[in-house]
Point group: C2
Chain length 500, copies 2
């Protein structure tokens, strides 16, 4: 068969599996957003069937043969070569996991999630610990099945962030530990900023409508997406032409909705910017979790928590909440949203302390998978780490070790991408500002079209063609560089906290 | 392999196909209710993939072998026997259609729908006619593939209503033609009722909230369903534990929302009442379209357009719309909602003239499939029939031959089930009133729990075990009996129009 026909076969089979995965995503979205309570049982089996079928398609022997055959052809064009290279990589990784093992993990996920929900309800880690222990045993096994050079955790990290390893991340987090505390100390010693105005009555509809205004202005295409309410904000994609975000509203706390909207909006702009022609193929998918997070953090933090951005938006926000914000200047509003304060909950942390939350999870995962920490000692270790790094100690498990859902899903190796994403975000935003000299002026005028265009051209259009590091080098001339993030923080917070 | 194991295999395979069909239903619901505009393309291919996979599963040779093998076993219990009997029937019917033919119909559906939308926009039937012609050619071919005894249309009717034939329906519609005009004439000569109060400003939220009150009171389980807005109201099921309804709101016309809510609520009560343990199997599915329609019409017309029902609900409705309904008594409200008036649009027709709309479509389908009417003459024929049977002639195609979507989908044989459903509804409601002597009193007090219980026990719980006719005989002691419907109308309208 000639290469064109063979490639067409590959494309059809891969996109068919993607159809099932996207269909799962629709069912998952509905489950979080609109599904009635009693729908859970049937939905669970429908999702399992879709997942099994999609998995069968992309792990079948004939699919593997097709990929291997195509990878030998020398008349593929560049785009085809990249898709085949990446699909073959995925295939070989998937092929290392026997079906029975995948089934076991799936069942354990369900059991873990159940136990975690019960444990949260009872505020008692010990209910969850036995299931976590079983999950960790499986993840260790998975690491062995994948194989690794230095540390078993490397094998798991690689699943979320290709090329990430313990030795690389140890280096990154060493810098976090070395450089952030100094800045935090300076901030702690400076006059504090006031954020109490965020805690007034902010009516839901007005919050909602303003968040739609902001998403629209950012360039989020509402003809190719929508925003809804869910318990935990998330972004999901059913194609580049249908990318949805969710948010949550708290009428007594204005910080809850807006930045989660902007954050998810950043993720969604990335998904909407992936090439439509590559639907379901590697070049139509996001580069990595860290790159995904770089997009959400760039919009949330570099743009959405900047004075430039609010120079344009604050007068508009005041038309929604004239009384609540009557006595708050745009400067005070900006300072308040950037208040730095150690806290127990990762998702509520500021841009600086956030990375200690991630660091703690990273250290714990490394130790759990490396076998130097037992799940039964986890709670104490967690609490000790919070005291050591953030100076706060959880009083209960819900505000401590039970706060994240990730481990229930078997997602060990996911957390570090949150920090990597922030660091890349600072580098990308810095580079954009170099290339677009009027960027800050534009943002002051509510114009982010050039920024989005630059992200589309330099990041979004490539899909998975480059790894995070390759992409960062291509775009900024260097790989991950913590110093750029550090400079960004120094500059931002010296303005906010009047420190030297 | 022993029968238990073999049956377990059957169950797994059948339910897996059902998982895909229900997943399609979720995607379809989302498409009608929440999907953004640009999502159509990708959604189309996702739905096609799901449909193809489900079709492959239930038409595969091994599945057929399994069914045939099981149908020979004599140690199946009653429930198992019925499932195997019905699945084998489905299998044999499906097996008559070659895959290429199914693909052709699917493509033609898409082309027809496109053309129909354009034709409606331009209000010009001629844009749609060529595609309809192609669809009819395919449907004739389908009838030949299925095979039939007397009339090719029989083969298509059977798909929607097992056992329905031209000779049977000719008999039914003869009665419609013979008996309804007399009643209509009496009504036309009586003093007319006023329905103008329905056309005031009725705020959306209040209409919406009242419809939720009504659905709740009917026994619709909101933990196993929800109501949303769509252009055309519909009911869809993803399992008996997740059955959703949609409705539409017109602030200038109160009749638009409420009865469509009750109608869809009737469909949904049926789906919620199907046995959960039979998920995805024939005994977990509705008996037929006519039985489905009997449930929606029973609630919409026999209950929802009765004076008993409004004796309870009208005071509640008045709390939502005190000004609009200030001068309207419950009797006048009841009369207004039952106004009889010839009209052009089927979905807006009253309980009597409705059946002429169906009759017209039945006559036309029979002639199109029988080859005695050509699509190019369809518009004239349609308009002539409307003049003949309803005394009104469409001025344009949107209010005439382009009003229904059914033919785009290739649904020839569907319309008659609407009338059959109404006739069965009168029989079932009459039987319920016989068995529950206090039924009318109960409804006057807003109590429909006993009615629902009776429907659950006598109709819902059986799934597809009985055909419409078998079920009707079992429940009422007789098969379809137009005279019961006729008596119901006589009694109802003699009260409303003060005729003898």
């Amino acid at each position: 068969m000639n290469t064109t026909e063979l490639y067409q076969q590959y494309k059809e089979q891969t996109q068919k599996a993607a159809d099932l995965q996207y269909a799962s995503a629709v069912l998952g979205w509905d489950q979080e957003v609109y599904m009635p309570q009693k729908g859970f049982g049937a939905r669970g089996r429908q999702l399992a069937t879709l997942a099994t079928l999609a998995h069968e398609m992309v792990t079948s022997g004939t699919y593997g043969d097709l990929l291997r055959e195509l990878s030998q052809r020398n008349d593929l064009n560049d785009e085809q070569q990249n898709n085949i290279r990446l699909s073959l990589e995925d295939y070989e990784k998937n092929a290392k996991l026997p079906t029975e093992f995948v089934d076991k993990i799936t069942q354990q996920t369900s059991a873990s999630y159940d136990a975690w929900l019960r444990a949260r309800k009872e505020n008692d880690y010990s209910i969850y610990a036995p299931e976590l222990e079983k999950m960790i045993a499986l993840k260790k096994q998975q690491a062995e099945l994948y194989g690794y050079k230095e540390h078993p955790y490397d094998a798991l990290l690689d699943e979320y962030e290709k090329g990430a390893t313990v030795s690389l991340l140890d280096g990154v987090f060493e810098k976090v530990k070395a450089e952030l505390p100094g800045l935090l100390k300076k901030i702690a010693n400076a006059p504090q900023v006031d954020a109490s105005f965020f805690h007034q009555e902010f009516l839901k509809d007005a919050q909602w409508n303003f968040s739609l205004d902001v998403l629209r202005q950012m360039g989020y295409d509402f003809e190719a997406g929508r925003q809804d309410i869910s318990e935990h904000p998330f972004t999901t994609s059913f194609a580049a032409t249908d990318v949805r975000v969710t948010t949550r509203v708290n009428e007594q706390d204005y910080t809850s909705l807006l930045w989660s909207s902007i954050h998810e909006g950043g993720h969604a702009l990335y998904e909407q910017g992936l090439p439509e022609s590559q639907y379901g193929l590697p070049l139509g998918a996001a580069a990595s979790l860290a790159v995904h997070e770089s997009q959400s953090r760039l919009w949330e933090n570099c743009v959405g928590r900047s004075l430039d951005f609010w120079t344009f938006f604050y007068p508009k926000l005041k038309t929604y909440f004239p009384q609540q914000l009557e006595k708050t200047s745009v400067q005070d509003f900006y300072k308040g949203m950037n208040q730095v304060k150690s806290s127990l909950i990762r998702t509520e942390a500021d841009e600086i302390t956030y990375h200690f939350h991630v660091l703690i999870r990273y250290e714990i995962e490394k130790a759990l998978i490396g076998g130097t920490l037992s799940p039964k000692d986890l709670k104490e270790t967690w609490n000790d780490y919070y005291e050591k790094y953030l100076g706060v100690r959880p009083n209960d498990d819900k505000h401590g070790v039970l706060q994240d859902v990730h481990w229930c899903h078997g997602s060990f190796g996911y957390f570090p991408t949150y920090s990597l994403g922030s660091f890349y975000a600072a580098q990308y935003f810095g580079q954009a500002a170099n290339v677009i000299p009027s960027l800050h002026e534009e943002i002051k005028n509510g114009v982010t079209g050039n920024l989005l265009h630059w992200l589309r051209e330099n990041i979004h259009q490539y899909g998975r063609r480059y790894t995070s590091e390759e992409l960062c080098k291509k775009v900024t001339g260097k790989g991950l560089d913590f110093s750029v993030f550090m400079n960004y923080l120094q500059q931002k917070y010296s303005g906010i906290y009047a420190i030297g």
